[in-house]
């Protein structure tokens, strides 16, 4: 709860930040939205850093480019790149960010011209030491044709997914084809998630609470909205060796969603202790991992399963006393 509030507070700080620095906002939006098409030139989109792609368009004037970005074009540029939540100012900043990339490419000999994008990139990189803003013109992002600047390569998180990349709309999620008209008609997850209780992993929705609090009432029978599930309240405690808390398997939350036949007997023999379950099996997608880590909350949420504190066992108590 507290974490969530701090997170929200810092998120609002972040957006405040975006207002302060337009270059930042432009790069952010490019990374989040425009790059999906403009990095590789999908559907004929002019490529970031490719002067030849942009030259004829620049000739028509920046005002037209802004207008195309804001309203879209019949040849495949979606309105605001499909991200209708983006502000007009940010979209224009993203256009500027792309234009800056080709200005430097067109005149690589002039170090002065490189200053703009590098400073923008450095400002946007969370971990760049403050000194980077002074030393900015040393690196030249246009040397890298893929449009990734030096600051991106050494970004703070290499493996952790940045917040901006979670729950992306279909056209930006990497599996939907953004050139398919159907893709643009699909609902964006965040549009649906607004009123639902949040969690820290998976869809980032607490689906158990969503039902408990009547935020959603998914049908139990596909035709009969009044049918209700057969919920049983039966907890099974599984002792775990070592320091991890014991696992409590709750039938209640599961039978809200599932039929007994979904688990018994295909996945679990219905008898306490009759099934060998290990974390290794779960990680490989067996036992609890048939659903957890695919559709139900993922394995990272240890404490949702390992929820029963152990009484200190005699051997451990003795070891602790001996210290």
């Amino acid at each position: 709860m507290k974490i969530k509030r701090i997170l929200l507070a810092s998120l609002s700080l972040l957006s405040f930040c975006g207002v302060v620095s337009a270059a930042d906002a432009g790069k952010d939006l490019y990374t989040k939205t425009c790059g999906v098409c403009h990095a590789a030139g999908i559907a004929g989109a002019p490529r970031y850093g490719n002067a030849a792609d942009w030259q004829p368009r620049i000739a028509a004037g920046t005002a037209r480019l802004y207008a195309s970005a804001l309203k879209g074009t019949p040849k495949g540029m979606p309105q605001k790149g499909g991200n209708l939540a983006a502000s007009d100012a940010d979209v224009k900043a993203a256009v500027d960010y792309m234009l800056a990339s080709v200005k430097t490419a067109a005149a690589p000999a002039k170090p002065a011209a490189t200053a703009t994008p590098v400073a923008a990139a450095a400002a946007a990189a969370p971990a760049a030491p403050p000194a980077a803003s002074v030393a900015a013109p040393v690196t030249n992002p246009s040397a890298n044709t893929s449009g990734v600047s030096a600051a991106d390569i050494n970004s703070f998180n290499r493996l952790l997914k940045p917040i901006g990349k979670r729950n992306p709309p279909p056209a930006e999620d990497g599996i939907h084809d953004p050139t398919n008209d159907g893709t643009l008609a699909l609902m964006a997850p965040l549009a649906a998630y607004g009123p639902l209780p949040k969690s820290l992993a998976g869809n980032r929705i607490n689906w158990v609470k969503a039902i408990e609090e009547n935020k959603i009432n998914p049908r139990w029978d596909r035709n009969d909205p009044a049918a209700t599930p057969v919920v049983i309240d039966l907890n099974i405690v599984r002792e775990v060796k070592g320091s991890m808390p014991d696992v409590v398997y709750p039938h209640k939350q599961h039978t809200e969603w599932l039929d007994c036949s979904n688990c018994h007997p295909a996945i679990f023999t219905p008898q306490k202790g009759a099934n060998a379950i290990s974390m290794a099996a779960i990680l490989l997608g067996e036992k609890c991992g048939v659903c957890h880590g695919k559709v139900a909350f993922p394995v990272s949420e240890c404490r949702l399963c390992h929820s029963k504190k152990k009484e200190v066992r005699p051997a451990q108590a003795a070891a602790a006393a001996a210290k």
Binding site: L7, C17, L160, K165, D177, D181, G202, R219, G293, V295
Partner: protein, 136 residues
């Protein structure tokens, strides 16, 4: 101004690290639980189909599909094709023009980038195992 911004960003990133344990080694960014089904689509010149779990579970409990309609818990494991769908099996049990929009909306289901393999997106297995080790 710049320094203040930087500090806020570092704080934000640290919080994000503290707030999540999940690491995303794979570049995939799809919504958790999105399933690509591509047993036949590529070969037939259609974009592969994408089934969004998040969207359907807001409307139906798992039991409806995985018990009543007989969807096995395995991406690509149900050998769905268009004849079965228009005969009212699998997706066709609902996408029949009565409960949900009907099959003529090809591009709403067939919406994946051509060549995307059958898989459960964002799954633990997808992140832990190299793509070559994954079951097709």
């Amino acid at each position: 101004m710049f320094r203040k911004c930087l500090w806020q960003r570092v704080l934000l990133v640290l919080l994000a690290v503290a707030a999540t344990l999940a690491m995303d080694i794979d570049d995939a960014r799809a919504e958790y639980g999105d399933i690509v089904i591509n047993n036949y689509s590529d070969a037939a010149g259609m974009r592969p189909a994408i089934f969004p779990h998040w969207f359907h579970r807001v409307r139906f409990r798992c039991k409806v599909c995985h018990a009543d309609l007989g969807f096995k818990f395995k991406a690509g494991g149900n050998e769905i094709n268009m004849v079965k769908i228009i005969d009212g099996q699998y997706c066709g049990a609902c996408h029949n023009g009565e409960l949900a929009w009907s099959v003529e909306n090809c591009n709403l289901c067939h919406s994946a980038k051509p060549g995307t393999q059958t898989q459960v997106h964002e799954s633990t297995v997808q992140k832990l195992a190299p793509a070559t080790l994954q079951k097709k």
